[in-house]
């Protein structure tokens, strides 16, 4: 691995480069989800019949998944605390737990989707389900991507290296959590 440029170590804006970058990533992600969910809300408010479609979603599974993500977020922030204290192995352990949460989330999601699809509620059933699978699917992709990156971060953190990355991936993970916090009422609760 080549040496990190001096540029990366400067912080004229008053915060470390990686943290600055992750916030910009989040800003650009907000508009991706914002555009999608905005379109969804427009349709949802306009079509009364969608409330009936939404009734077929299972809020208990959705609620459980919210619980899983919130808990994994807690693990991520505890990992960050450990990293602040310089405790790499504990940070890594917390990140692995976070990953476990992500994995559980995906598994529950997979179960939920298989059930729904086998009951005929496919992505082409109607536009509500199209939005449902698209929004939740893009979110799930973020969860998977977060998990993969987190595994790499945990690998280095275990050796007490690059501990600042624990915070960065944590912020990203919290953002994924926040997206789900909004997806959950939009897709499962509002009826």
């Amino acid at each position: 691995m080549s040496a990190r440029p001096i540029a990366t170590t400067r912080s004229a804006a008053g915060m470390p480069t990686a943290r600055l970058a992750v916030w910009w990533i989040i800003a650009s992600e907000i508009v991706i989800f914002g555009g999608l969910l905005g379109s969804y809300i427009m349709h949802r408010l306009a079509h009364g019949v969608w409330a009936d479609y939404a009734a077929a979603t299972n809020p208990w599974i959705g609620g459980f998944n919210t619980f899983v993500l919130l808990t994994s977020s807690l693990m991520a922030v505890l990992g960050h605390q450990a990293a602040e204290r310089g405790d790499g192995p504990r940070a890594a352990k917390m990140l692995y737990l976070t990953c476990g949460g992500g994995l559980l989330f995906i598994c529950v999601k997979a179960y939920e989707w298989t059930t729904e699809i086998s009951h005929g509620m496919t992505i082409t059933a109607n536009t509500f389900w199209s939005f449902y699978y698209t929004a939740a699917g893009i979110h799930a992709l973020h969860v998977i991507a977060g998990c993969i990156i987190m595994l790499f971060v945990a690998q280095t953190a275990k050796k007490n290296l690059e501990l600042h990355r624990v915070e960065i991936i944590g912020i990203y993970w919290h953002f994924v959590d926040v997206v789900w916090i909004f997806l959950f009422p939009l897709l499962y609760i509002a009826k």
Partner: protein, 140 residues
């Protein structure tokens, strides 16, 4: 990152506990069956939860102010997008234009609700795929 070192792990566990209580409320809210209440418990609480996560987990208040502004700007732009787009997408008619198929579908749905068959859609989605598709506007 030094300002939040005052917090111990308990602080985060406590926050997590609050989030779980809020989650429980938002799941149970709809069971009361009051639409306005559902709206509050679902989205009001989502905003509170998001705020808690952003402040206590993501430490947005400890980052330079411009980050908050940038995030706020994206939200404002999304509202703008919604405001500009909704008059076309959210309406079934407007100044000098109508979406006839949509209006028909709505009328058909209203008739169905009136005849007490509204529950059919939710259940119908479970049963047969073709019905789910048929219920979409414009097929009537």
């Amino acid at each position: 990152m030094s300002a939040h070192e005052a917090h111990g792990d308990e602080f985060y566990v406590k926050t997590w506990a609050i989030l779980l209580v809020l989650l429980l409320i938002s799941v149970l809210g709809p069971l009361l069956g009051h639409p306005v209440l559902t709206l509050i418990t679902a989205f009001g609480i989502a905003v509170v939860k998001a705020y808690l996560v952003a402040v206590r987990f993501m430490h947005i208040n400890l980052t330079p102010r411009f980050v908050t502004y940038a995030v706020a700007t994206t939200l404002v732009f999304m509202l703008l997008f919604f405001a500009g787009t909704a008059p076309d997408v959210m309406k079934n008619h407007g100044t000098n234009w109508v979406k006839p198929a949509w209006i028909q579908a709505e009328a058909a749905y209203a008739a169905e609700v009136a005849s007490g068959a509204a529950g059919h859609h939710g259940a119908g989605g479970h049963g047969e795929a073709p019905h789910g598709g048929e219920a979409a506007p414009a097929h009537h």
